[in-house]
């Protein structure tokens, strides 16, 4: 990878939930520092409860940080940005809207004309192979198809940063592997920055340029690792690569270490 410029600069972000009048609250994140580069694919791995979702929501402007700043292109980020899109863990499609209308939601937020946004939504649905079910209600689709709609909804606004929160966590292994390849292909084609949360170490290695390893109590980043594997990854047998084996061991050791200390 050549030196890329920073798109999102996370500086000293902390988050305390419910710390008011006497209560100490939950320290979900403690002084996170991380630069997310233009066009990179970075994954967050770590145990449940280490603040991955919290950090993603702060980046998206859905949650205020307790302290610290986030710079987008060097400018302080306030509120929800039009250039950042979110793929939710629970997918959260509107059941009263059709698939294509769900994909249009971000374009509605931008005040695009109906004809224009339908055209764009169909284009993105075609990209994820779902143009055939555009007029269907979302609850008639399988879990994998629903998350494809979630991805299409985020892609529709042509984001510079794509935040994905354990998007394949609820899916079976076959579907998950297919979607990993699809996401990788989409990223190759569109070249936005992707921040991908997962607790699946292999998934992180397969997809990422870098992996940030989180730990909890308080939630923090303990290590950032480079993944020195060639792209495109779907053309190589990633788990068999020595680099993948080394990374896997390093990450699991870091996560296991914590358990041993606690015992």
């Amino acid at each position: 990878m050549t030196e890329a410029s920073t798109v999102l600069d996370i500086r000293g972000i902390s988050k305390v939930y419910g710390g008011r009048s006497g209560h100490r609250g939950v320290q979900a994140l403690e002084s996170i520092d991380l630069s997310i580069r233009e066009g990179e694919f970075i994954s967050f791995v770590g145990p449940s409860g280490c603040g991955k979702t919290t950090l993603l929501k702060i980046l998206d402007g859905l949650l205020p940080a307790s302290s610290g700043r986030i710079l987008f292109d060097g400018r302080e980020l306030v509120g929800v940005s039009r250039e950042i899109a979110y793929v939710f863990q629970d997918i959260n499609l509107l059941p009263w809207k059709s698939v294509v209308e769900n994909v249009e939601i971000g374009l509605v937020g931008r005040g695009q004309a109906p004809v224009e946004r339908r055209r764009r939504a169909m284009e993105v649905l075609e990209l994820v192979g779902l143009h055939g079910v555009a007029s269907h209600p979302p609850y008639t689709l399988s879990g994998g198809m629903q998350q494809r709609v979630g991805v299409a909804r985020a892609l529709a606004i042509n984001p510079r940063v794509l935040l994905m929160d354990e998007p394949f966590g609820h899916l079976d292994n076959m579907t998950r592997e297919t979607l990993q390849i699809e996401v990788s292909k989409i990223w190759h084609r569109m070249r936005m920055s992707v921040v991908f949360v997962t607790h699946d170490v292999d998934e992180a290695i397969f997809l990422s340029d870098r992996i940030a390893v989180f730990d909890l109590d308080p939630g923090r980043i303990v290590e950032v690792l480079d993944v020195n594997l060639p792209h495109p990854r779907w053309e190589i047998d990633v788990p068999a690569q020595p680099e993948a084996i080394r990374l896997r061991r390093a990450i699991i050791e870091r996560l296991e270490l914590r358990k041993r200390v606690l015992i």
Partner: protein
């Protein structure tokens, strides 16, 4: 059948036979009295109820969405909902009279509160994940209401409407009995006072059918336009 056998030997003032009730029903229909009463009652109910739906949903959305509105209106809503509204009828007679507009107001006053209260609850209890989606994708306040909060409140609102129509029918009958005798309620009062039990029962059945038809119609609307309610029941958070 059981009713027919049980009622046959009894005094028809206490319990008329179903055959007698049916005969009276046919007679009341064919001489036109029942039909014109139905038209009277129906127009009161529809008018009062429609206004209640519009006001209930409109005010409910404002109260559910904007704290300022809630603070202002909530005490009145709580008060009115806890008051037996029938007690207002003499007051309404003094203020508005006993004719059609007064009876429409009675229907309105009885059916409004369940619709209003349910709308407020529905708007407030919108699925948090879906609200987050709307916010994340940059919807404005009005867009968020139209795309997320209002549709999300539809199951609550429909339940409120179902309850509201039942109360509205009660209001309609009471209004017609206590104010100027008119419509179905008027017939109930007249036949009741003159011990024409079989005619009375024919009219009462007619009112029940009224309620059943409305609830059935609501079910139809729900299945036709809000199929997602059944499909996603239980999965909403």
């Amino acid at each position: 059948m059981a009713w027919q056998l049980y009622a046959a030997p009894m005094n028809p003032i206490l319990l008329p036979t179903p055959i007698a009730v049916l005969a009276d029903f046919v007679a009341l229909v064919s001489d036109g009295t029942l039909v014109s009463a139905l038209v009277d009652s129906f127009s009161e109910l529809i008018l009062g109820f429609t206004i209640a739906v519009i006001v209930g949903i409109g005010l409910g959305v404002l109260m559910g969405r904007y704290h300022r509105f809630e603070v202002v209106f909530d005490p009145y809503v709580t008060f009115m909902n806890a008051t037996p509204l029938v007690a207002f009828i003499p007051l309404l007679i003094i203020w508005v009279g006993i004719e059609f507009p007064a009876r429409v107001i009675v229907v309105f006053l009885l059916s409004l509160w369940p619709i209003l209260i349910n709308t407020v609850a529905g708007i407030k209890n919108a699925n948090r994940g879906l609200v987050e989606v709307g916010t994340s994708f940059g919807l404005s306040e009005v867009q968020l209401l139209r795309w997320v909060n209002l549709p999300s409140a539809v199951p609550y609102i429909l339940a409120g409407i179902r309850n509201g129509i039942a109360k509205g029918i009660v209001g309609m009958i009471i209004g017609e009995m206590d104010m100027a005798l008119a419509g179905l309620g008027g017939m109930v009062a007249v036949f009741g006072d003159s011990f024409q039990t079989s005619k009375l029962m024919a009219v009462i059945f007619c009112t029940s059918i009224f309620g059943v038809v409305f609830v059935g119609l609501l079910g139809l609307i729900e299945r036709r336009w809000f199929a997602w309610i059944k499909e996603t029941a239980g999965s909403q958070k």
